[in-house]
Assembly symmetry: C2
DNA sequence: TGCGTATTAGACCGTTCGGTCCGAACTTTA
DNA sequence: TAAAGTTCGGACCGAACGGTCTAATACGCA
């Protein structure tokens, strides 16, 4: 893919994760990506909507590489991987420096009820995310209680993280996310068979 | 407060909780509240921003009456009240019929990074919400483990619920919220002293 | 009866929006 | 060198936006 294209995609991704899709104008993207003008932009994307779709794709790919990949590390115990993944989400938000949030969450909140094209794509993102965690839990099933519903627990984890990022952004305080991440780990540990797998202290550190 | 004013507020609240603040135009509100024209609207509100602030206020008041009030019911065991509150959130989303979501969440996602006026107001909403749960947990402390961090647990509950409503909206499936609500209850029950207070089955129903 | 408020209707304003079109210059590659 | 793709700069379009203004009509109440 051309340099310019990814440059535009990156600039748009930053803007969208801060202001959302609707409030990000094409002119903003042009300025952010340092393009010469509108024709320069429309040389690469046929519409703002198409740009939005591609930004979502790219954001998910990046997230899959930098975040979800941890869930598949073959040399690490699955439940430990899950904890590392949660840490990675915290680290990702920390890198953003307070500003911005989950690109999926912001698009979901904005467009779930009004733009079916986006809704369906975001649904697919969540679905793939769920399925990654679900298969990790499946892999870890010898360590887990028999009655653990992997799909449900996966959705819970994602919802808690998305909600946490949102609250963190409002309060401008990363420790909110850190606290929720720690609690989430304890919740996951609750599903572990007694004596099996890794230990997580129920005490607060 | 005048009839017309609340009529406008209600129409705006519905629209905003579906499309967000930015994508809700004054003309939409006028149509939704069946006003005769712009001058009719600006007779009651001096700007769209002021309307937004008042919608947020009103939404929190309604939520406080219909939702948070449960947390203060004096005749019911505190932890049971917490479960009832979670049920109420599910019921509230069910009433919305899939469409729309948490008015706080949608405004937070949209405006947290770009509009400080809204950001601090939403922060205050979350703060009051947290403090309600926190004082309930304080009341229930004889039944809870000593190391329970009430503030942190409160934030966790809220984040999980906000995230759950968001996912539910994207997937258009209330059972997502129901599952997370059930899991959240189990997580809360995890903090209860052995043998104390009410029992919640860890098994899935 | 009169006075203030509520309602109706619509013209109008400046700005921003997504998007199109044009024409020229520059760069890469065949 | 010719052709194809890229960059540049800006004029332009119709629509939608938040908001103002005027002016007439209805209504509730002292």
């Amino acid at each position: 893919m051309s340099d310019r294209r990814t440059q535009i995609l990156d600039a748009a991704a930053t803007l969208i994760s801060e202001r959302g899709f609707t409030s990000t104008s094409v002119a903003d993207v042009i300025k952010g990506a340092k393009l010469s003008g509108k024709s320069h932009f429309y040389h690469y994307f046929k519409s703002k909507e198409e740009l939005g779709y591609e930004v979502l794709n790219r954001q998910f790919e990046r997230f899959a590489e930098r975040g979800l990949a941890i869930l598949r590390e073959p040399m690490i115990d699955p439940l430990e991987r899950l904890n590392l993944f949660i840490d990675a989400v915290v680290a990702l938000q920390s890198e953003r420096g307070g500003r911005g949030g989950s690109p999926f969450g912001i698009l979901a909140a904005e467009l779930a009820d009004t733009h079916d094209g986006f809704r369906v794509r975001i649904e697919a993102v969540f679905e793939r995310w769920v399925s990654q965690i679900r298969s990790l839990l499946w892999e870890a099933r010898p360590q887990l209680h028999d009655d653990v519903d992997a799909g449900r627990l996966s959705r819970f984890i994602i919802a808690a993280l998305e909600g946490a990022v949102l609250m963190t952004r409002v309060k401008r305080d990363l420790s909110v996310l850190e606290g929720i991440a720690a609690d989430l780990k304890r919740f996951i540990a609750m599903h572990v068979r007694d004596g099996a797998g890794l230990q997580v202290h129920r005490n607060l550190e």
